[in-house]
Amino acid sequence: MENLLEIKHLSKNFGGIEALKDVNITVEKGGLVGLIGPNGAGKTTIFNLLTGEYVPTSGSMIFDGRELTNHHPYQVTAFGIARTFQNIRLFSNLSVLDNVRIACHIHVKYGVFDSIIHGKRFVGGEKEIYEKSIELLRIFKLEDKKDELAKNLPYGEQRRLEITRALATNPKLLLLDEPAAGMNPQETEELMETIKFLRDKMGITIFLIEHDMHLVMGICEKIYVLDFGKVIAEGDPTAIQHDPKVIEAYLGTAYLEGGKVNA
């Protein structure tokens, strides 16, 4: 299958700290790929490099045949990559509807002048944005909360709204940064259903960071394991679960040598 995203020899230094060292990751079109690793391994750094928040020290990131390096975050979004954040970044004082409408702006069909005179093109364009937003909110069961302020939603729904908002930019690739963080088991189950739905029904390629092994092992087809800025393992969930390097990274060498973890 065709590769949607190819990360080749990607490195990133922060001053003297090597956050990422020669990372190679490929995400196939239509894939559902997970990225795991202990805290501080550099997972979010990869997302920040992909979305243009950071500039890589070396290496390349090819998305859909286009080099991502040296593009601003808003340009990367326009190429077709949307993301959610580890610590939810909704427009918390705005309504649920406005959160989604703002993300629709990237495809707005009228100009500044149209908006000032509130002409025909404005009315048509606004109607389109409204309908698209409502449609997305309906799919993600947030329609009846459209007028609530984003900050007043329960935690699980805030996460869901962040995904809905990301989808309003019409992405080809969706980056989810710890989507299940802070969720209870039932919310996590719902999230897994949502992620599968995104990939299977909406045809969106997913690349996600997650600590919840139930989620990662349950839905990802391919998993990369990152430790101290290096990819130490890649493969399907079963292979990853039995990889000695992965066990070492998570549980330490003592575990492998037959000793007790807390010894």
């Binding site: 004082n93 705005l94 406005d98 409408r101 993300a103 702006h105 908006s115 509130h118 404005f122 302020l149």
Partner: protein, 323 residues
Amino acid sequence: MDKNSLKKDLIVFAAVVIFYALVQVFIQTGIIGPYYSLNLILMCINIMLAVSLNLINGFLGQFSIGHAGLMSVGAYTSAILTYYYDLPLVVALIVGALAACLAGLVVAIPTLRLKGDYLGIATLGFGEIIRVVFLTNETVGGAKGFFGIPKLTTWTWAFFLMVLTIIVIKNFIDSSYGRSCIAIREDEIAAEAMGINTTKYKILAFTIGAFFAGAAGALYAHNFYTIQPEQFNFMKSFDIMTMVVLGGQGSITGSIIGAIAVTVLNAALSSLAAMRMVFYSLLLIIMMLFRPQGLFGTTEFTLDQVLGRRGRLGKSAGNKASV
């Protein structure tokens, strides 16, 4: 636009026209004397200034305190055009506003990368530079002031330019572009991740604000026969900011009320001279203690509220009827 909002638009439009006509008749018949008509014009100018600053401070969320500087660019440019070249007010107004717009652009491009306090300091510096430029330029009268500017500003000009300012800025805010600006205020990183070119929209909103500040300045210059650089110092910027903060950052109707309140207070307290500023500072301190979001916060005063249906900007910013 649905039928209901069209009806509300018509009510507001009718109210605006009737208000204008009544005041115009009173001025013509002398019921409203020259002192009061001067203050009414000043009120319109202040509303233009407050609403345009609110676009930058309240909606875009960028802390600018150089608004008097932008206003002075419009004032001096238009005054030069009418005094030296005998051009009609309409030309002077447009050129003055465009000059302020250009000045805004020059300030915006380097400084809008700065955030919060830093941007405030940079815009303050800009305001002072502009003031010193006029202070040292003898063709515009230098420190003595620019005298003999024809008095061309009338109630009609002031009132309709004010209405235009409010309509343009309100329409901008209620569009996808305005929502993008509000998104920048709420969370710049998230806004950028949603595909919004934050630098571009900051510059756009800043220059729109500057344009109307320039237009207000042009009206101001042609209202008093004379302008002095001192009238556009930091205290003037502070005055405009008081109006915005008083009314609520992020509320257009709030800015209108704030501007009216400050104009009335200015006139009422004019005998106190410098003590006036003490009064304002106290007012602001009390405001910050008891209602830090301003009179209106980010909500708008709408006809719906008068009729008992609560409206709120940000809840459904799409179809608001109030002007």
